[in-house]
Symmetry: C2
Subunit: 248 residues, 2 copies
């Protein structure tokens, strides 16, 4: 049985532990600075824990699922094969001849259940033996496993910010308009879902619709008038409209 040490007891650590429970991979120890988090996760998956970095015990692999800022500090105390779980940090932030990255591309919340199976996991390692172990672990919990180098992973993270954080900002804009005009935001929810659903099987270029795509200048002019007292939204509306037009 492959033995894993979990470094961290936050959202991601919790979800990885849950996904691995019942598999052939055993969590043999949990480390967290915070006793409460360590204890809670340790009890849930019935594993020992420590809050002292000096007590971290060697195993086949440490999964370092802590904040980006804390990786360097904690990794010094992990003298056996290890991976971090960050989308933005390069592999080289870990020191050693068996290090890698195990990055699940998703936003996690401890209290919401997650179907790990559909979450893509991006891998990178500096050693073929470690690569084999890490790939097996990833495939045990996800059906989408991919190898990306540190440069690709950085770009993927940027792409994720655009596709997800920025989309969410667009939802926020639309809600702000609804609130101001006394329109229930609920009316827009089905359209938001359909828009995201369409690109599950199509290329985003093919699913683009709307006045900018159609070159419907009358509607665009009218929208600009509606936004005349909303400088920020107006700016963004014009920039994104030009961007769609230039791709049409």
């Amino acid at each position: 049985m492959t033995k894993i040490t979990m470094i961290g007891a936050g959202n991601l650590a919790t979800h990885i532990c849950r996904a691995l429970s019942g598999s052939k991979y055993e969590i043999v120890q949990i480390y967290s600075r915070t006793k409460q988090s360590a204890l809670q996760l340790a009890e849930e998956i019935n594993a020992p824990y420590t809050t002292d970095v000096r007590n971290i015990k060697p195993s086949d692999l440490a999964i370092i699922a802590v904040n980006d800022d804390s990786i360097s500090e904690v990794e010094k105390h992990v003298t056996f094969p290890k991976v971090h779980t960050s989308g933005t940090q390069p592999m080289s932030v870990l020191k050693g001849d068996k290090v890698g990255v195990f990055y699940p591309l998703q936003t996690f919340n401890k209290n919401l259940e997650v179907d790990f199976n559909s979450i893509p996991i991006c891998l990178e390692t500096n050693n073929s033996e470690l690569n084999h172990i890490v790939t097996s672990i990833a495939q045990a919990i996800s059906k989408k496993v991919i190898h990306l180098n540190s440069k690709q992973r950085k770009h993927l993270h940027l792409a994720a910010v655009m596709a997800c954080n920025f989309s969410n900002l667009m939802y926020q804009f639309s809600q702000e308009i609804c609130v101001k005009e006394n329109i229930p935001f609920d009316i827009l929810r089905p359209l938001i879902l359909v828009t995201a659903n369409k690109v599950q099987t199509n290329e985003p270029k093919m699913t683009q619709t709307g006045p900018a795509k159609r070159g419907d200048l009358d509607t665009i002019k009218e929208h600009i008038m509606l936004l005349e007292n909303e400088k920020e939204k107006l700016n963004i509306y014009q920039l994104l409209t030009e961007s769609i037009k230039s791709r049409s």
Copy 2:
């Protein structure tokens, strides 16, 4: 049985006809300039059709589901109660004392099946008797029916452009980055769907995540470096990042 004349035989007209089939509302005639469209829809729902505006026969209600530009031209020939289906045109584009708007908020494609039941329909009328008829029709095919005036409908359309067309542009940006870096776009699809799913039951303000929201300046700086040769995306990245920051 309430008798309806369908003016238009495009995507929207087709989906409304399909949704009404088997209901207590009968399509008694289809009008379209284009014989092929008229014939195809007429055969599908087993109704008579005409391609000559002078042959449009009076019924209880005409649903004018044609392009915005064509509404004024065709509505002149409809001398009985009528509604148009546009999100951007005011009710006043129709002349008469029994006119209104019947605007389903969704993007349609003739060849894709649509669950009309979950599509919100926005209504406006200038007559209470007509309002009663139109509301009943809308409720027969959708479980979300709402009354909005022309000003609200314009703002709703603007909000929809932001929530949907602009989100789709964000998906396009992210795909462009993936293509350039040789990353399969497929990795981002689950995250896109989760992002849209989250706002189905939460406020967008509550579901905002990412470096701008966290104030993670190192990551933002790195993203800006990755975009240094992509002026358009860089501009938009900075503007949207500032916008998220100002809301955090």
